[in-house]
Symmetry: C2
Subunit: 576 residues, 2 copies
């Protein structure tokens, strides 16, 4: 059987930074070449970052991207890497607009492409056929679908090339690849992480490999981009469903693997499939053992996704540091621990802002957190700032509760204005769901690290992180008391969350049904919940949509995050 | 030629309120019946409201909508309106999901439908073929496209039925309708207003009528829904391009018109077209002169769009009143005038919040505005609330400027918490574009009436509104001084906007190129602007995306509004 040494590079692109991303790819090519690879693939849109959103409708951006691909091919050649076949994902265009209606509409003028670079030139191109337009994806909005398939012949084997969603669709390009009789199916991806995604992705790759009796090589990008986190987890599976190589999650990585590929055949090509024959690269010299990374426990995966999402938001946007209000409660403690893991405790600023309702326990829990983690810590009592509002505007009740949260939010923003810190807002998904937060108060901030983490999972991750520390003989970051005490917003005397909300076990379960699974009120009740509680909770969810629209972004880790994943009206009167 | 009396009803649905919207339709049917109409059409999704967004993925919502259509047919019959043929738009489902990838994705299970109600039953249904997925539309995300056409035969004529986007596409369903030889093409729509939309819509309707030598009847909904305003402007055009009837914009209206329609022929139907024969209604009795409304001047159209958008947000969400910070400047003056026009001055609360930097002129301009409009007016000097922040947190520079704006925003929110007012935020599109605002300060609020109005248009509308008042012998609402003085945020001594920003004539022109037309930096410079100014402005636009994401919604009146119309990343490093 012919041999092929394949390299897959998980790069972490910065959106729009074509020159910087190209440099990452050249670096991966250099390392792949040193490892004796014949062919290197990087992820979908690795040259531009993903998702490019409506930049796809900006002609000049597409022209730049187009030139960047041509320049990359030349640069690889100039660096003595021209022998290596490099497959790179990027946007291309502008093309004739896809006709879609009124004149002002940003109709698609771009394609989502893979280019094959060899000997200093773009030798072949493939355009994604299937454009996901569900969940967080808007690709049908911005791209023109391709309709031609591509098979590369090199070193006596045929390699078919597809992009991400193409692999998911039954009867899609994969079926035609089978007719073309390729020995290797190369799939480049920008596939965002969510919980248990590996329980979907790996079986899919395996199924396609077995169905087509073909080796399937799947390469994904890595890194955070606004509300998405890409986890890598690139993998190669053979036609018997065996994993031949697998890259670790969360990190940039070059995976190199030797493949025995079925020889190219002279099967006539189906319609709309073309074959490009590439000059042979040097034969593989060295035997190689490739890595098979083992994915971690789901809590570790989630933790790493949150850390990477926060890290990349801070670094890619150039913030020197972050600032967090530490209340002594579990949410802010978890966020501080995440921030320290993401960028180091010396770039984390915690501020305790006690009010007259803050318990002594809260203050000491915040102190303990600061000591455990070692971030910069200061205390600013808010009474002197709160009182003038109460007196001048005669505030009582909810208004008086909210003003405390808002004074804290404003104080953080003011400290951010003075020092350039990114303000982290510490609301969890449960709070966001029911609007249990003060807009422009505790919800103020540029990034929300745990906005997709429901309350029960907040506790679970806190316990996991502490245990992880213990297992490494480190100080557990999160005070036990912050985990174990009843949660409270501490905006009035002796308040607890459960004065207002159902127990979190019930609340999170109802939210899972109503928000994540998008069930209607009747269907939620049919699951066995108290009807009055369901009405109460679903009404809160509906009525707080306006707040969520004004909320900070944060990393998606579930199958249904707030933001572009869940698009619902603010003005909405249910028919019940 | 056979005669048909057609009624088109512009209703104003509330999203999700199936029962209330059905009652609107029954009322329109009663009036249409009294006017002797044979057939009544209401707009696309008139039964549910539009856009329903991801409610389309909630099975229980679709089931409810389905039942609501059946119930509406029966209700019409019960009210003695069963003879009238009623065409109504609504979502329907759930159907088998359109296969679109991963398991958690809200794949489409709904169709965007028109149902034909007659004699107490749903007699026929049509599903929209072409699903707009550009600009503010996400229909390919949520709907399964239809592929069968429908022709209704009644009173000896054939009526073809399509939905909105179907009309826009060359070679789409319209071409097949031509083959089916129908005499009347009925199009139901939910087509949002934007500036000069009538300059696109009417020529399109006319072109289709002439192309197909068919009468085209176009009915649109009316009203505000979050960031969209539907303007009505329903129209009937004959095969010679003559307007036979046209409804006024902005108001609920029943348009009734007598049509002489080509008789039904026995042309064989093309594939995928079916004909439903409806029992004949009573013959038309009375001669009728139908209205041809004349659209207003563009400034009046824009004004009315802003008023209706604000009015419906307030009313559909049940706010008793609105509150506005009146600074003496033009933006807040325009918002106050809009609010008074929308809901009456007695439901508008204006608060002047002078600081040490507020000029005497600003205070007196605010006083004059209050006197002109007659809203509830109070003054709250902010110094006592600002000083504690400055002292405790040692604020200087930008932090000290921002804290003033934030104290004002918090004060408004506190007053809102006390009294239930909706807080209006008064930022214009130019400010939003370049981030010339304080997040959680002047940008705080639930609705942003002029967020899609650039600064030059702010002045133009202010002048227009004053002249309109003068022409009606009313007091011009906006103080002349607010219009004529140089704009200033008044956050430091003698500040004006032009200390920081280019002149508004230049700035708005660059923003039109970069934001509205989505040109790249080079292409903007090529229009003749100073390169350094272009770099400065485009960088401000890119860097303030995070603020816009957290901004309030407001009515779209341009071809490219911020929000779902323009989707760009926050984390973004341009390649220049």
């Amino acid at each position: 059987m012919p041999q092929l040494r394949l390299a897959l590079a998980q790069t972490n692109p910065i959106l729009g930074d074509l020159a910087g991303n190209a440099a990452q790819i050249v670096d991966a090519a250099r390392r792949a070449s040193e490892a004796g690879a014949d062919i290197l693939a990087v992820g979908e849109m690795a040259l531009s970052g993903y998702p490019i959103e409506d930049l796809a409708a900006r002609p000049s951006f597409l022209v730049e991207a187009h030139h960047a691909v041509v320049a990359l091919a030349k640069k690889l050649q100039d660096h003595g890497l021209g022998e290596l076949v490099v497959v790179v994902g990027h946007p291309d265009g502008p093309f004739e607009p896809r006709l879609m209606g009124t004149s002002n509409a940003p109709t698609a003028i771009a394609q989502n492409r893979a280019s094959v670079l060899h000997h200093g030139h773009v030798q072949a191109q493939y355009s994604k056929h299937h454009l996901p337009n569900y969940s967080v994806f808007d690709e049908y909005r911005i791209f023109i679908p391709g309709d031609e398939l591509l098979v590369l012949r090199l070193k006596g084997v045929d390699v078919a090339l597809i992009i991400c969603e193409d692999l998911w669709r039954d009867g899609g390009p994969v079926a035609r690849v089978l007719e073309a009789d390729a020995g290797l199916l190369l799939v480049i991806n920008a596939s965002p992480f969510e919980r248990d995604k590996d329980a979907t992705r790996l079986p899919l790759v395996t199924r396609r490999a077995v169905e087509t009796d073909t080796i399937v090589a799947y390469v994904n990008i890595v890194g955070g981009q606004d509300d998405l986190v890409f986890d890598g987890d690139s993998v190669v599976v053979d036609g018997h469903g065996r994993i031949l190589a697998r890259a670790p999650q969360w990190v940039e990585h070059l995976l190199v693997v030797d493949l025995e590929v079925a020889p190219a055949s002279d099967t006539p090509l189906p319609d709309h499939v073309s074959r490009v024959v590439l000059a042979d690269a040097a034969p593989v010299q060295l035997p190689l053992t490739s890595d098979i990374a083992e994915p971690a426990d789901y809590r570790e995966q989630l933790w790493n996704a949150l850390v990477l999402g926060l890290h990349d938001y801070v670094e890619k946007n150039g913030f020197p540091s972050v600032i967090i209000a530490v209340s002594g409660g579990i949410d802010s403690a978890l966020c501080a621990a995440l921030a320290a893991d993401a960028i180091g405790a010396d770039r984390v600023y915690g501020v305790s802002m006690p009010s007259r309702y803050s318990s002594e326990g809260s203050r000491s829990d915040a102190d303990e957190l600061a000591a455990n983690i070692g971030f910069h810590y200061s205390v600013e009592a808010i009474a002197t700032m709160v009182t003038p509002f109460e007196e001048q505007l005669h505030l009582t009740g909810l208004a008086a509760e909210n003003i405390q949260a808002r004074v804290r939010g404003m104080s953080l923003m003011a400290l951010s204005n003075m020092s350039g810190h990114l303000v982290l807002t510490t609301g969890n998904k449960t709070e966001l769901s029911v609007g249990y937060s003060t807009i422009y108060g505790d919800s103020a901030g540029g990034f929300a690290p745990i906005k997709d983490v429901p309350k029960l999972l907040v506790w679970e991750l806190a316990r996991w992180r502490n245990a992880f520390a213990t297992s490494r003989h480190e100080v557990p970051p999160i005070p036990v008391n912050s985990i174990e005490k009843p949660p409270s917003a501490e905006l009035r005397p002796d308040q607890t969350d459960q004065d207002t909300l159902p127990p979190y076990e019930v609340l999170d379960a109802i939210l899972d049904a109503y928000v994540t699974r998008n069930l209607g009120r009747e269907d939620v009740v049919a699951l066995g919940f108290d009807a009055e509680t369901v009405d109460f909770v679903t009404r809160l969810v509906d009525h707080s949509e306006w707040k969520r629209r004004q909320g900070a972004i944060g990393p998606k880790i579930s199958g249904m995050a707030f933001g572009r994943d869940r698009r619902l009206p603010i003005t909405y009167r249910p028919n019940v």
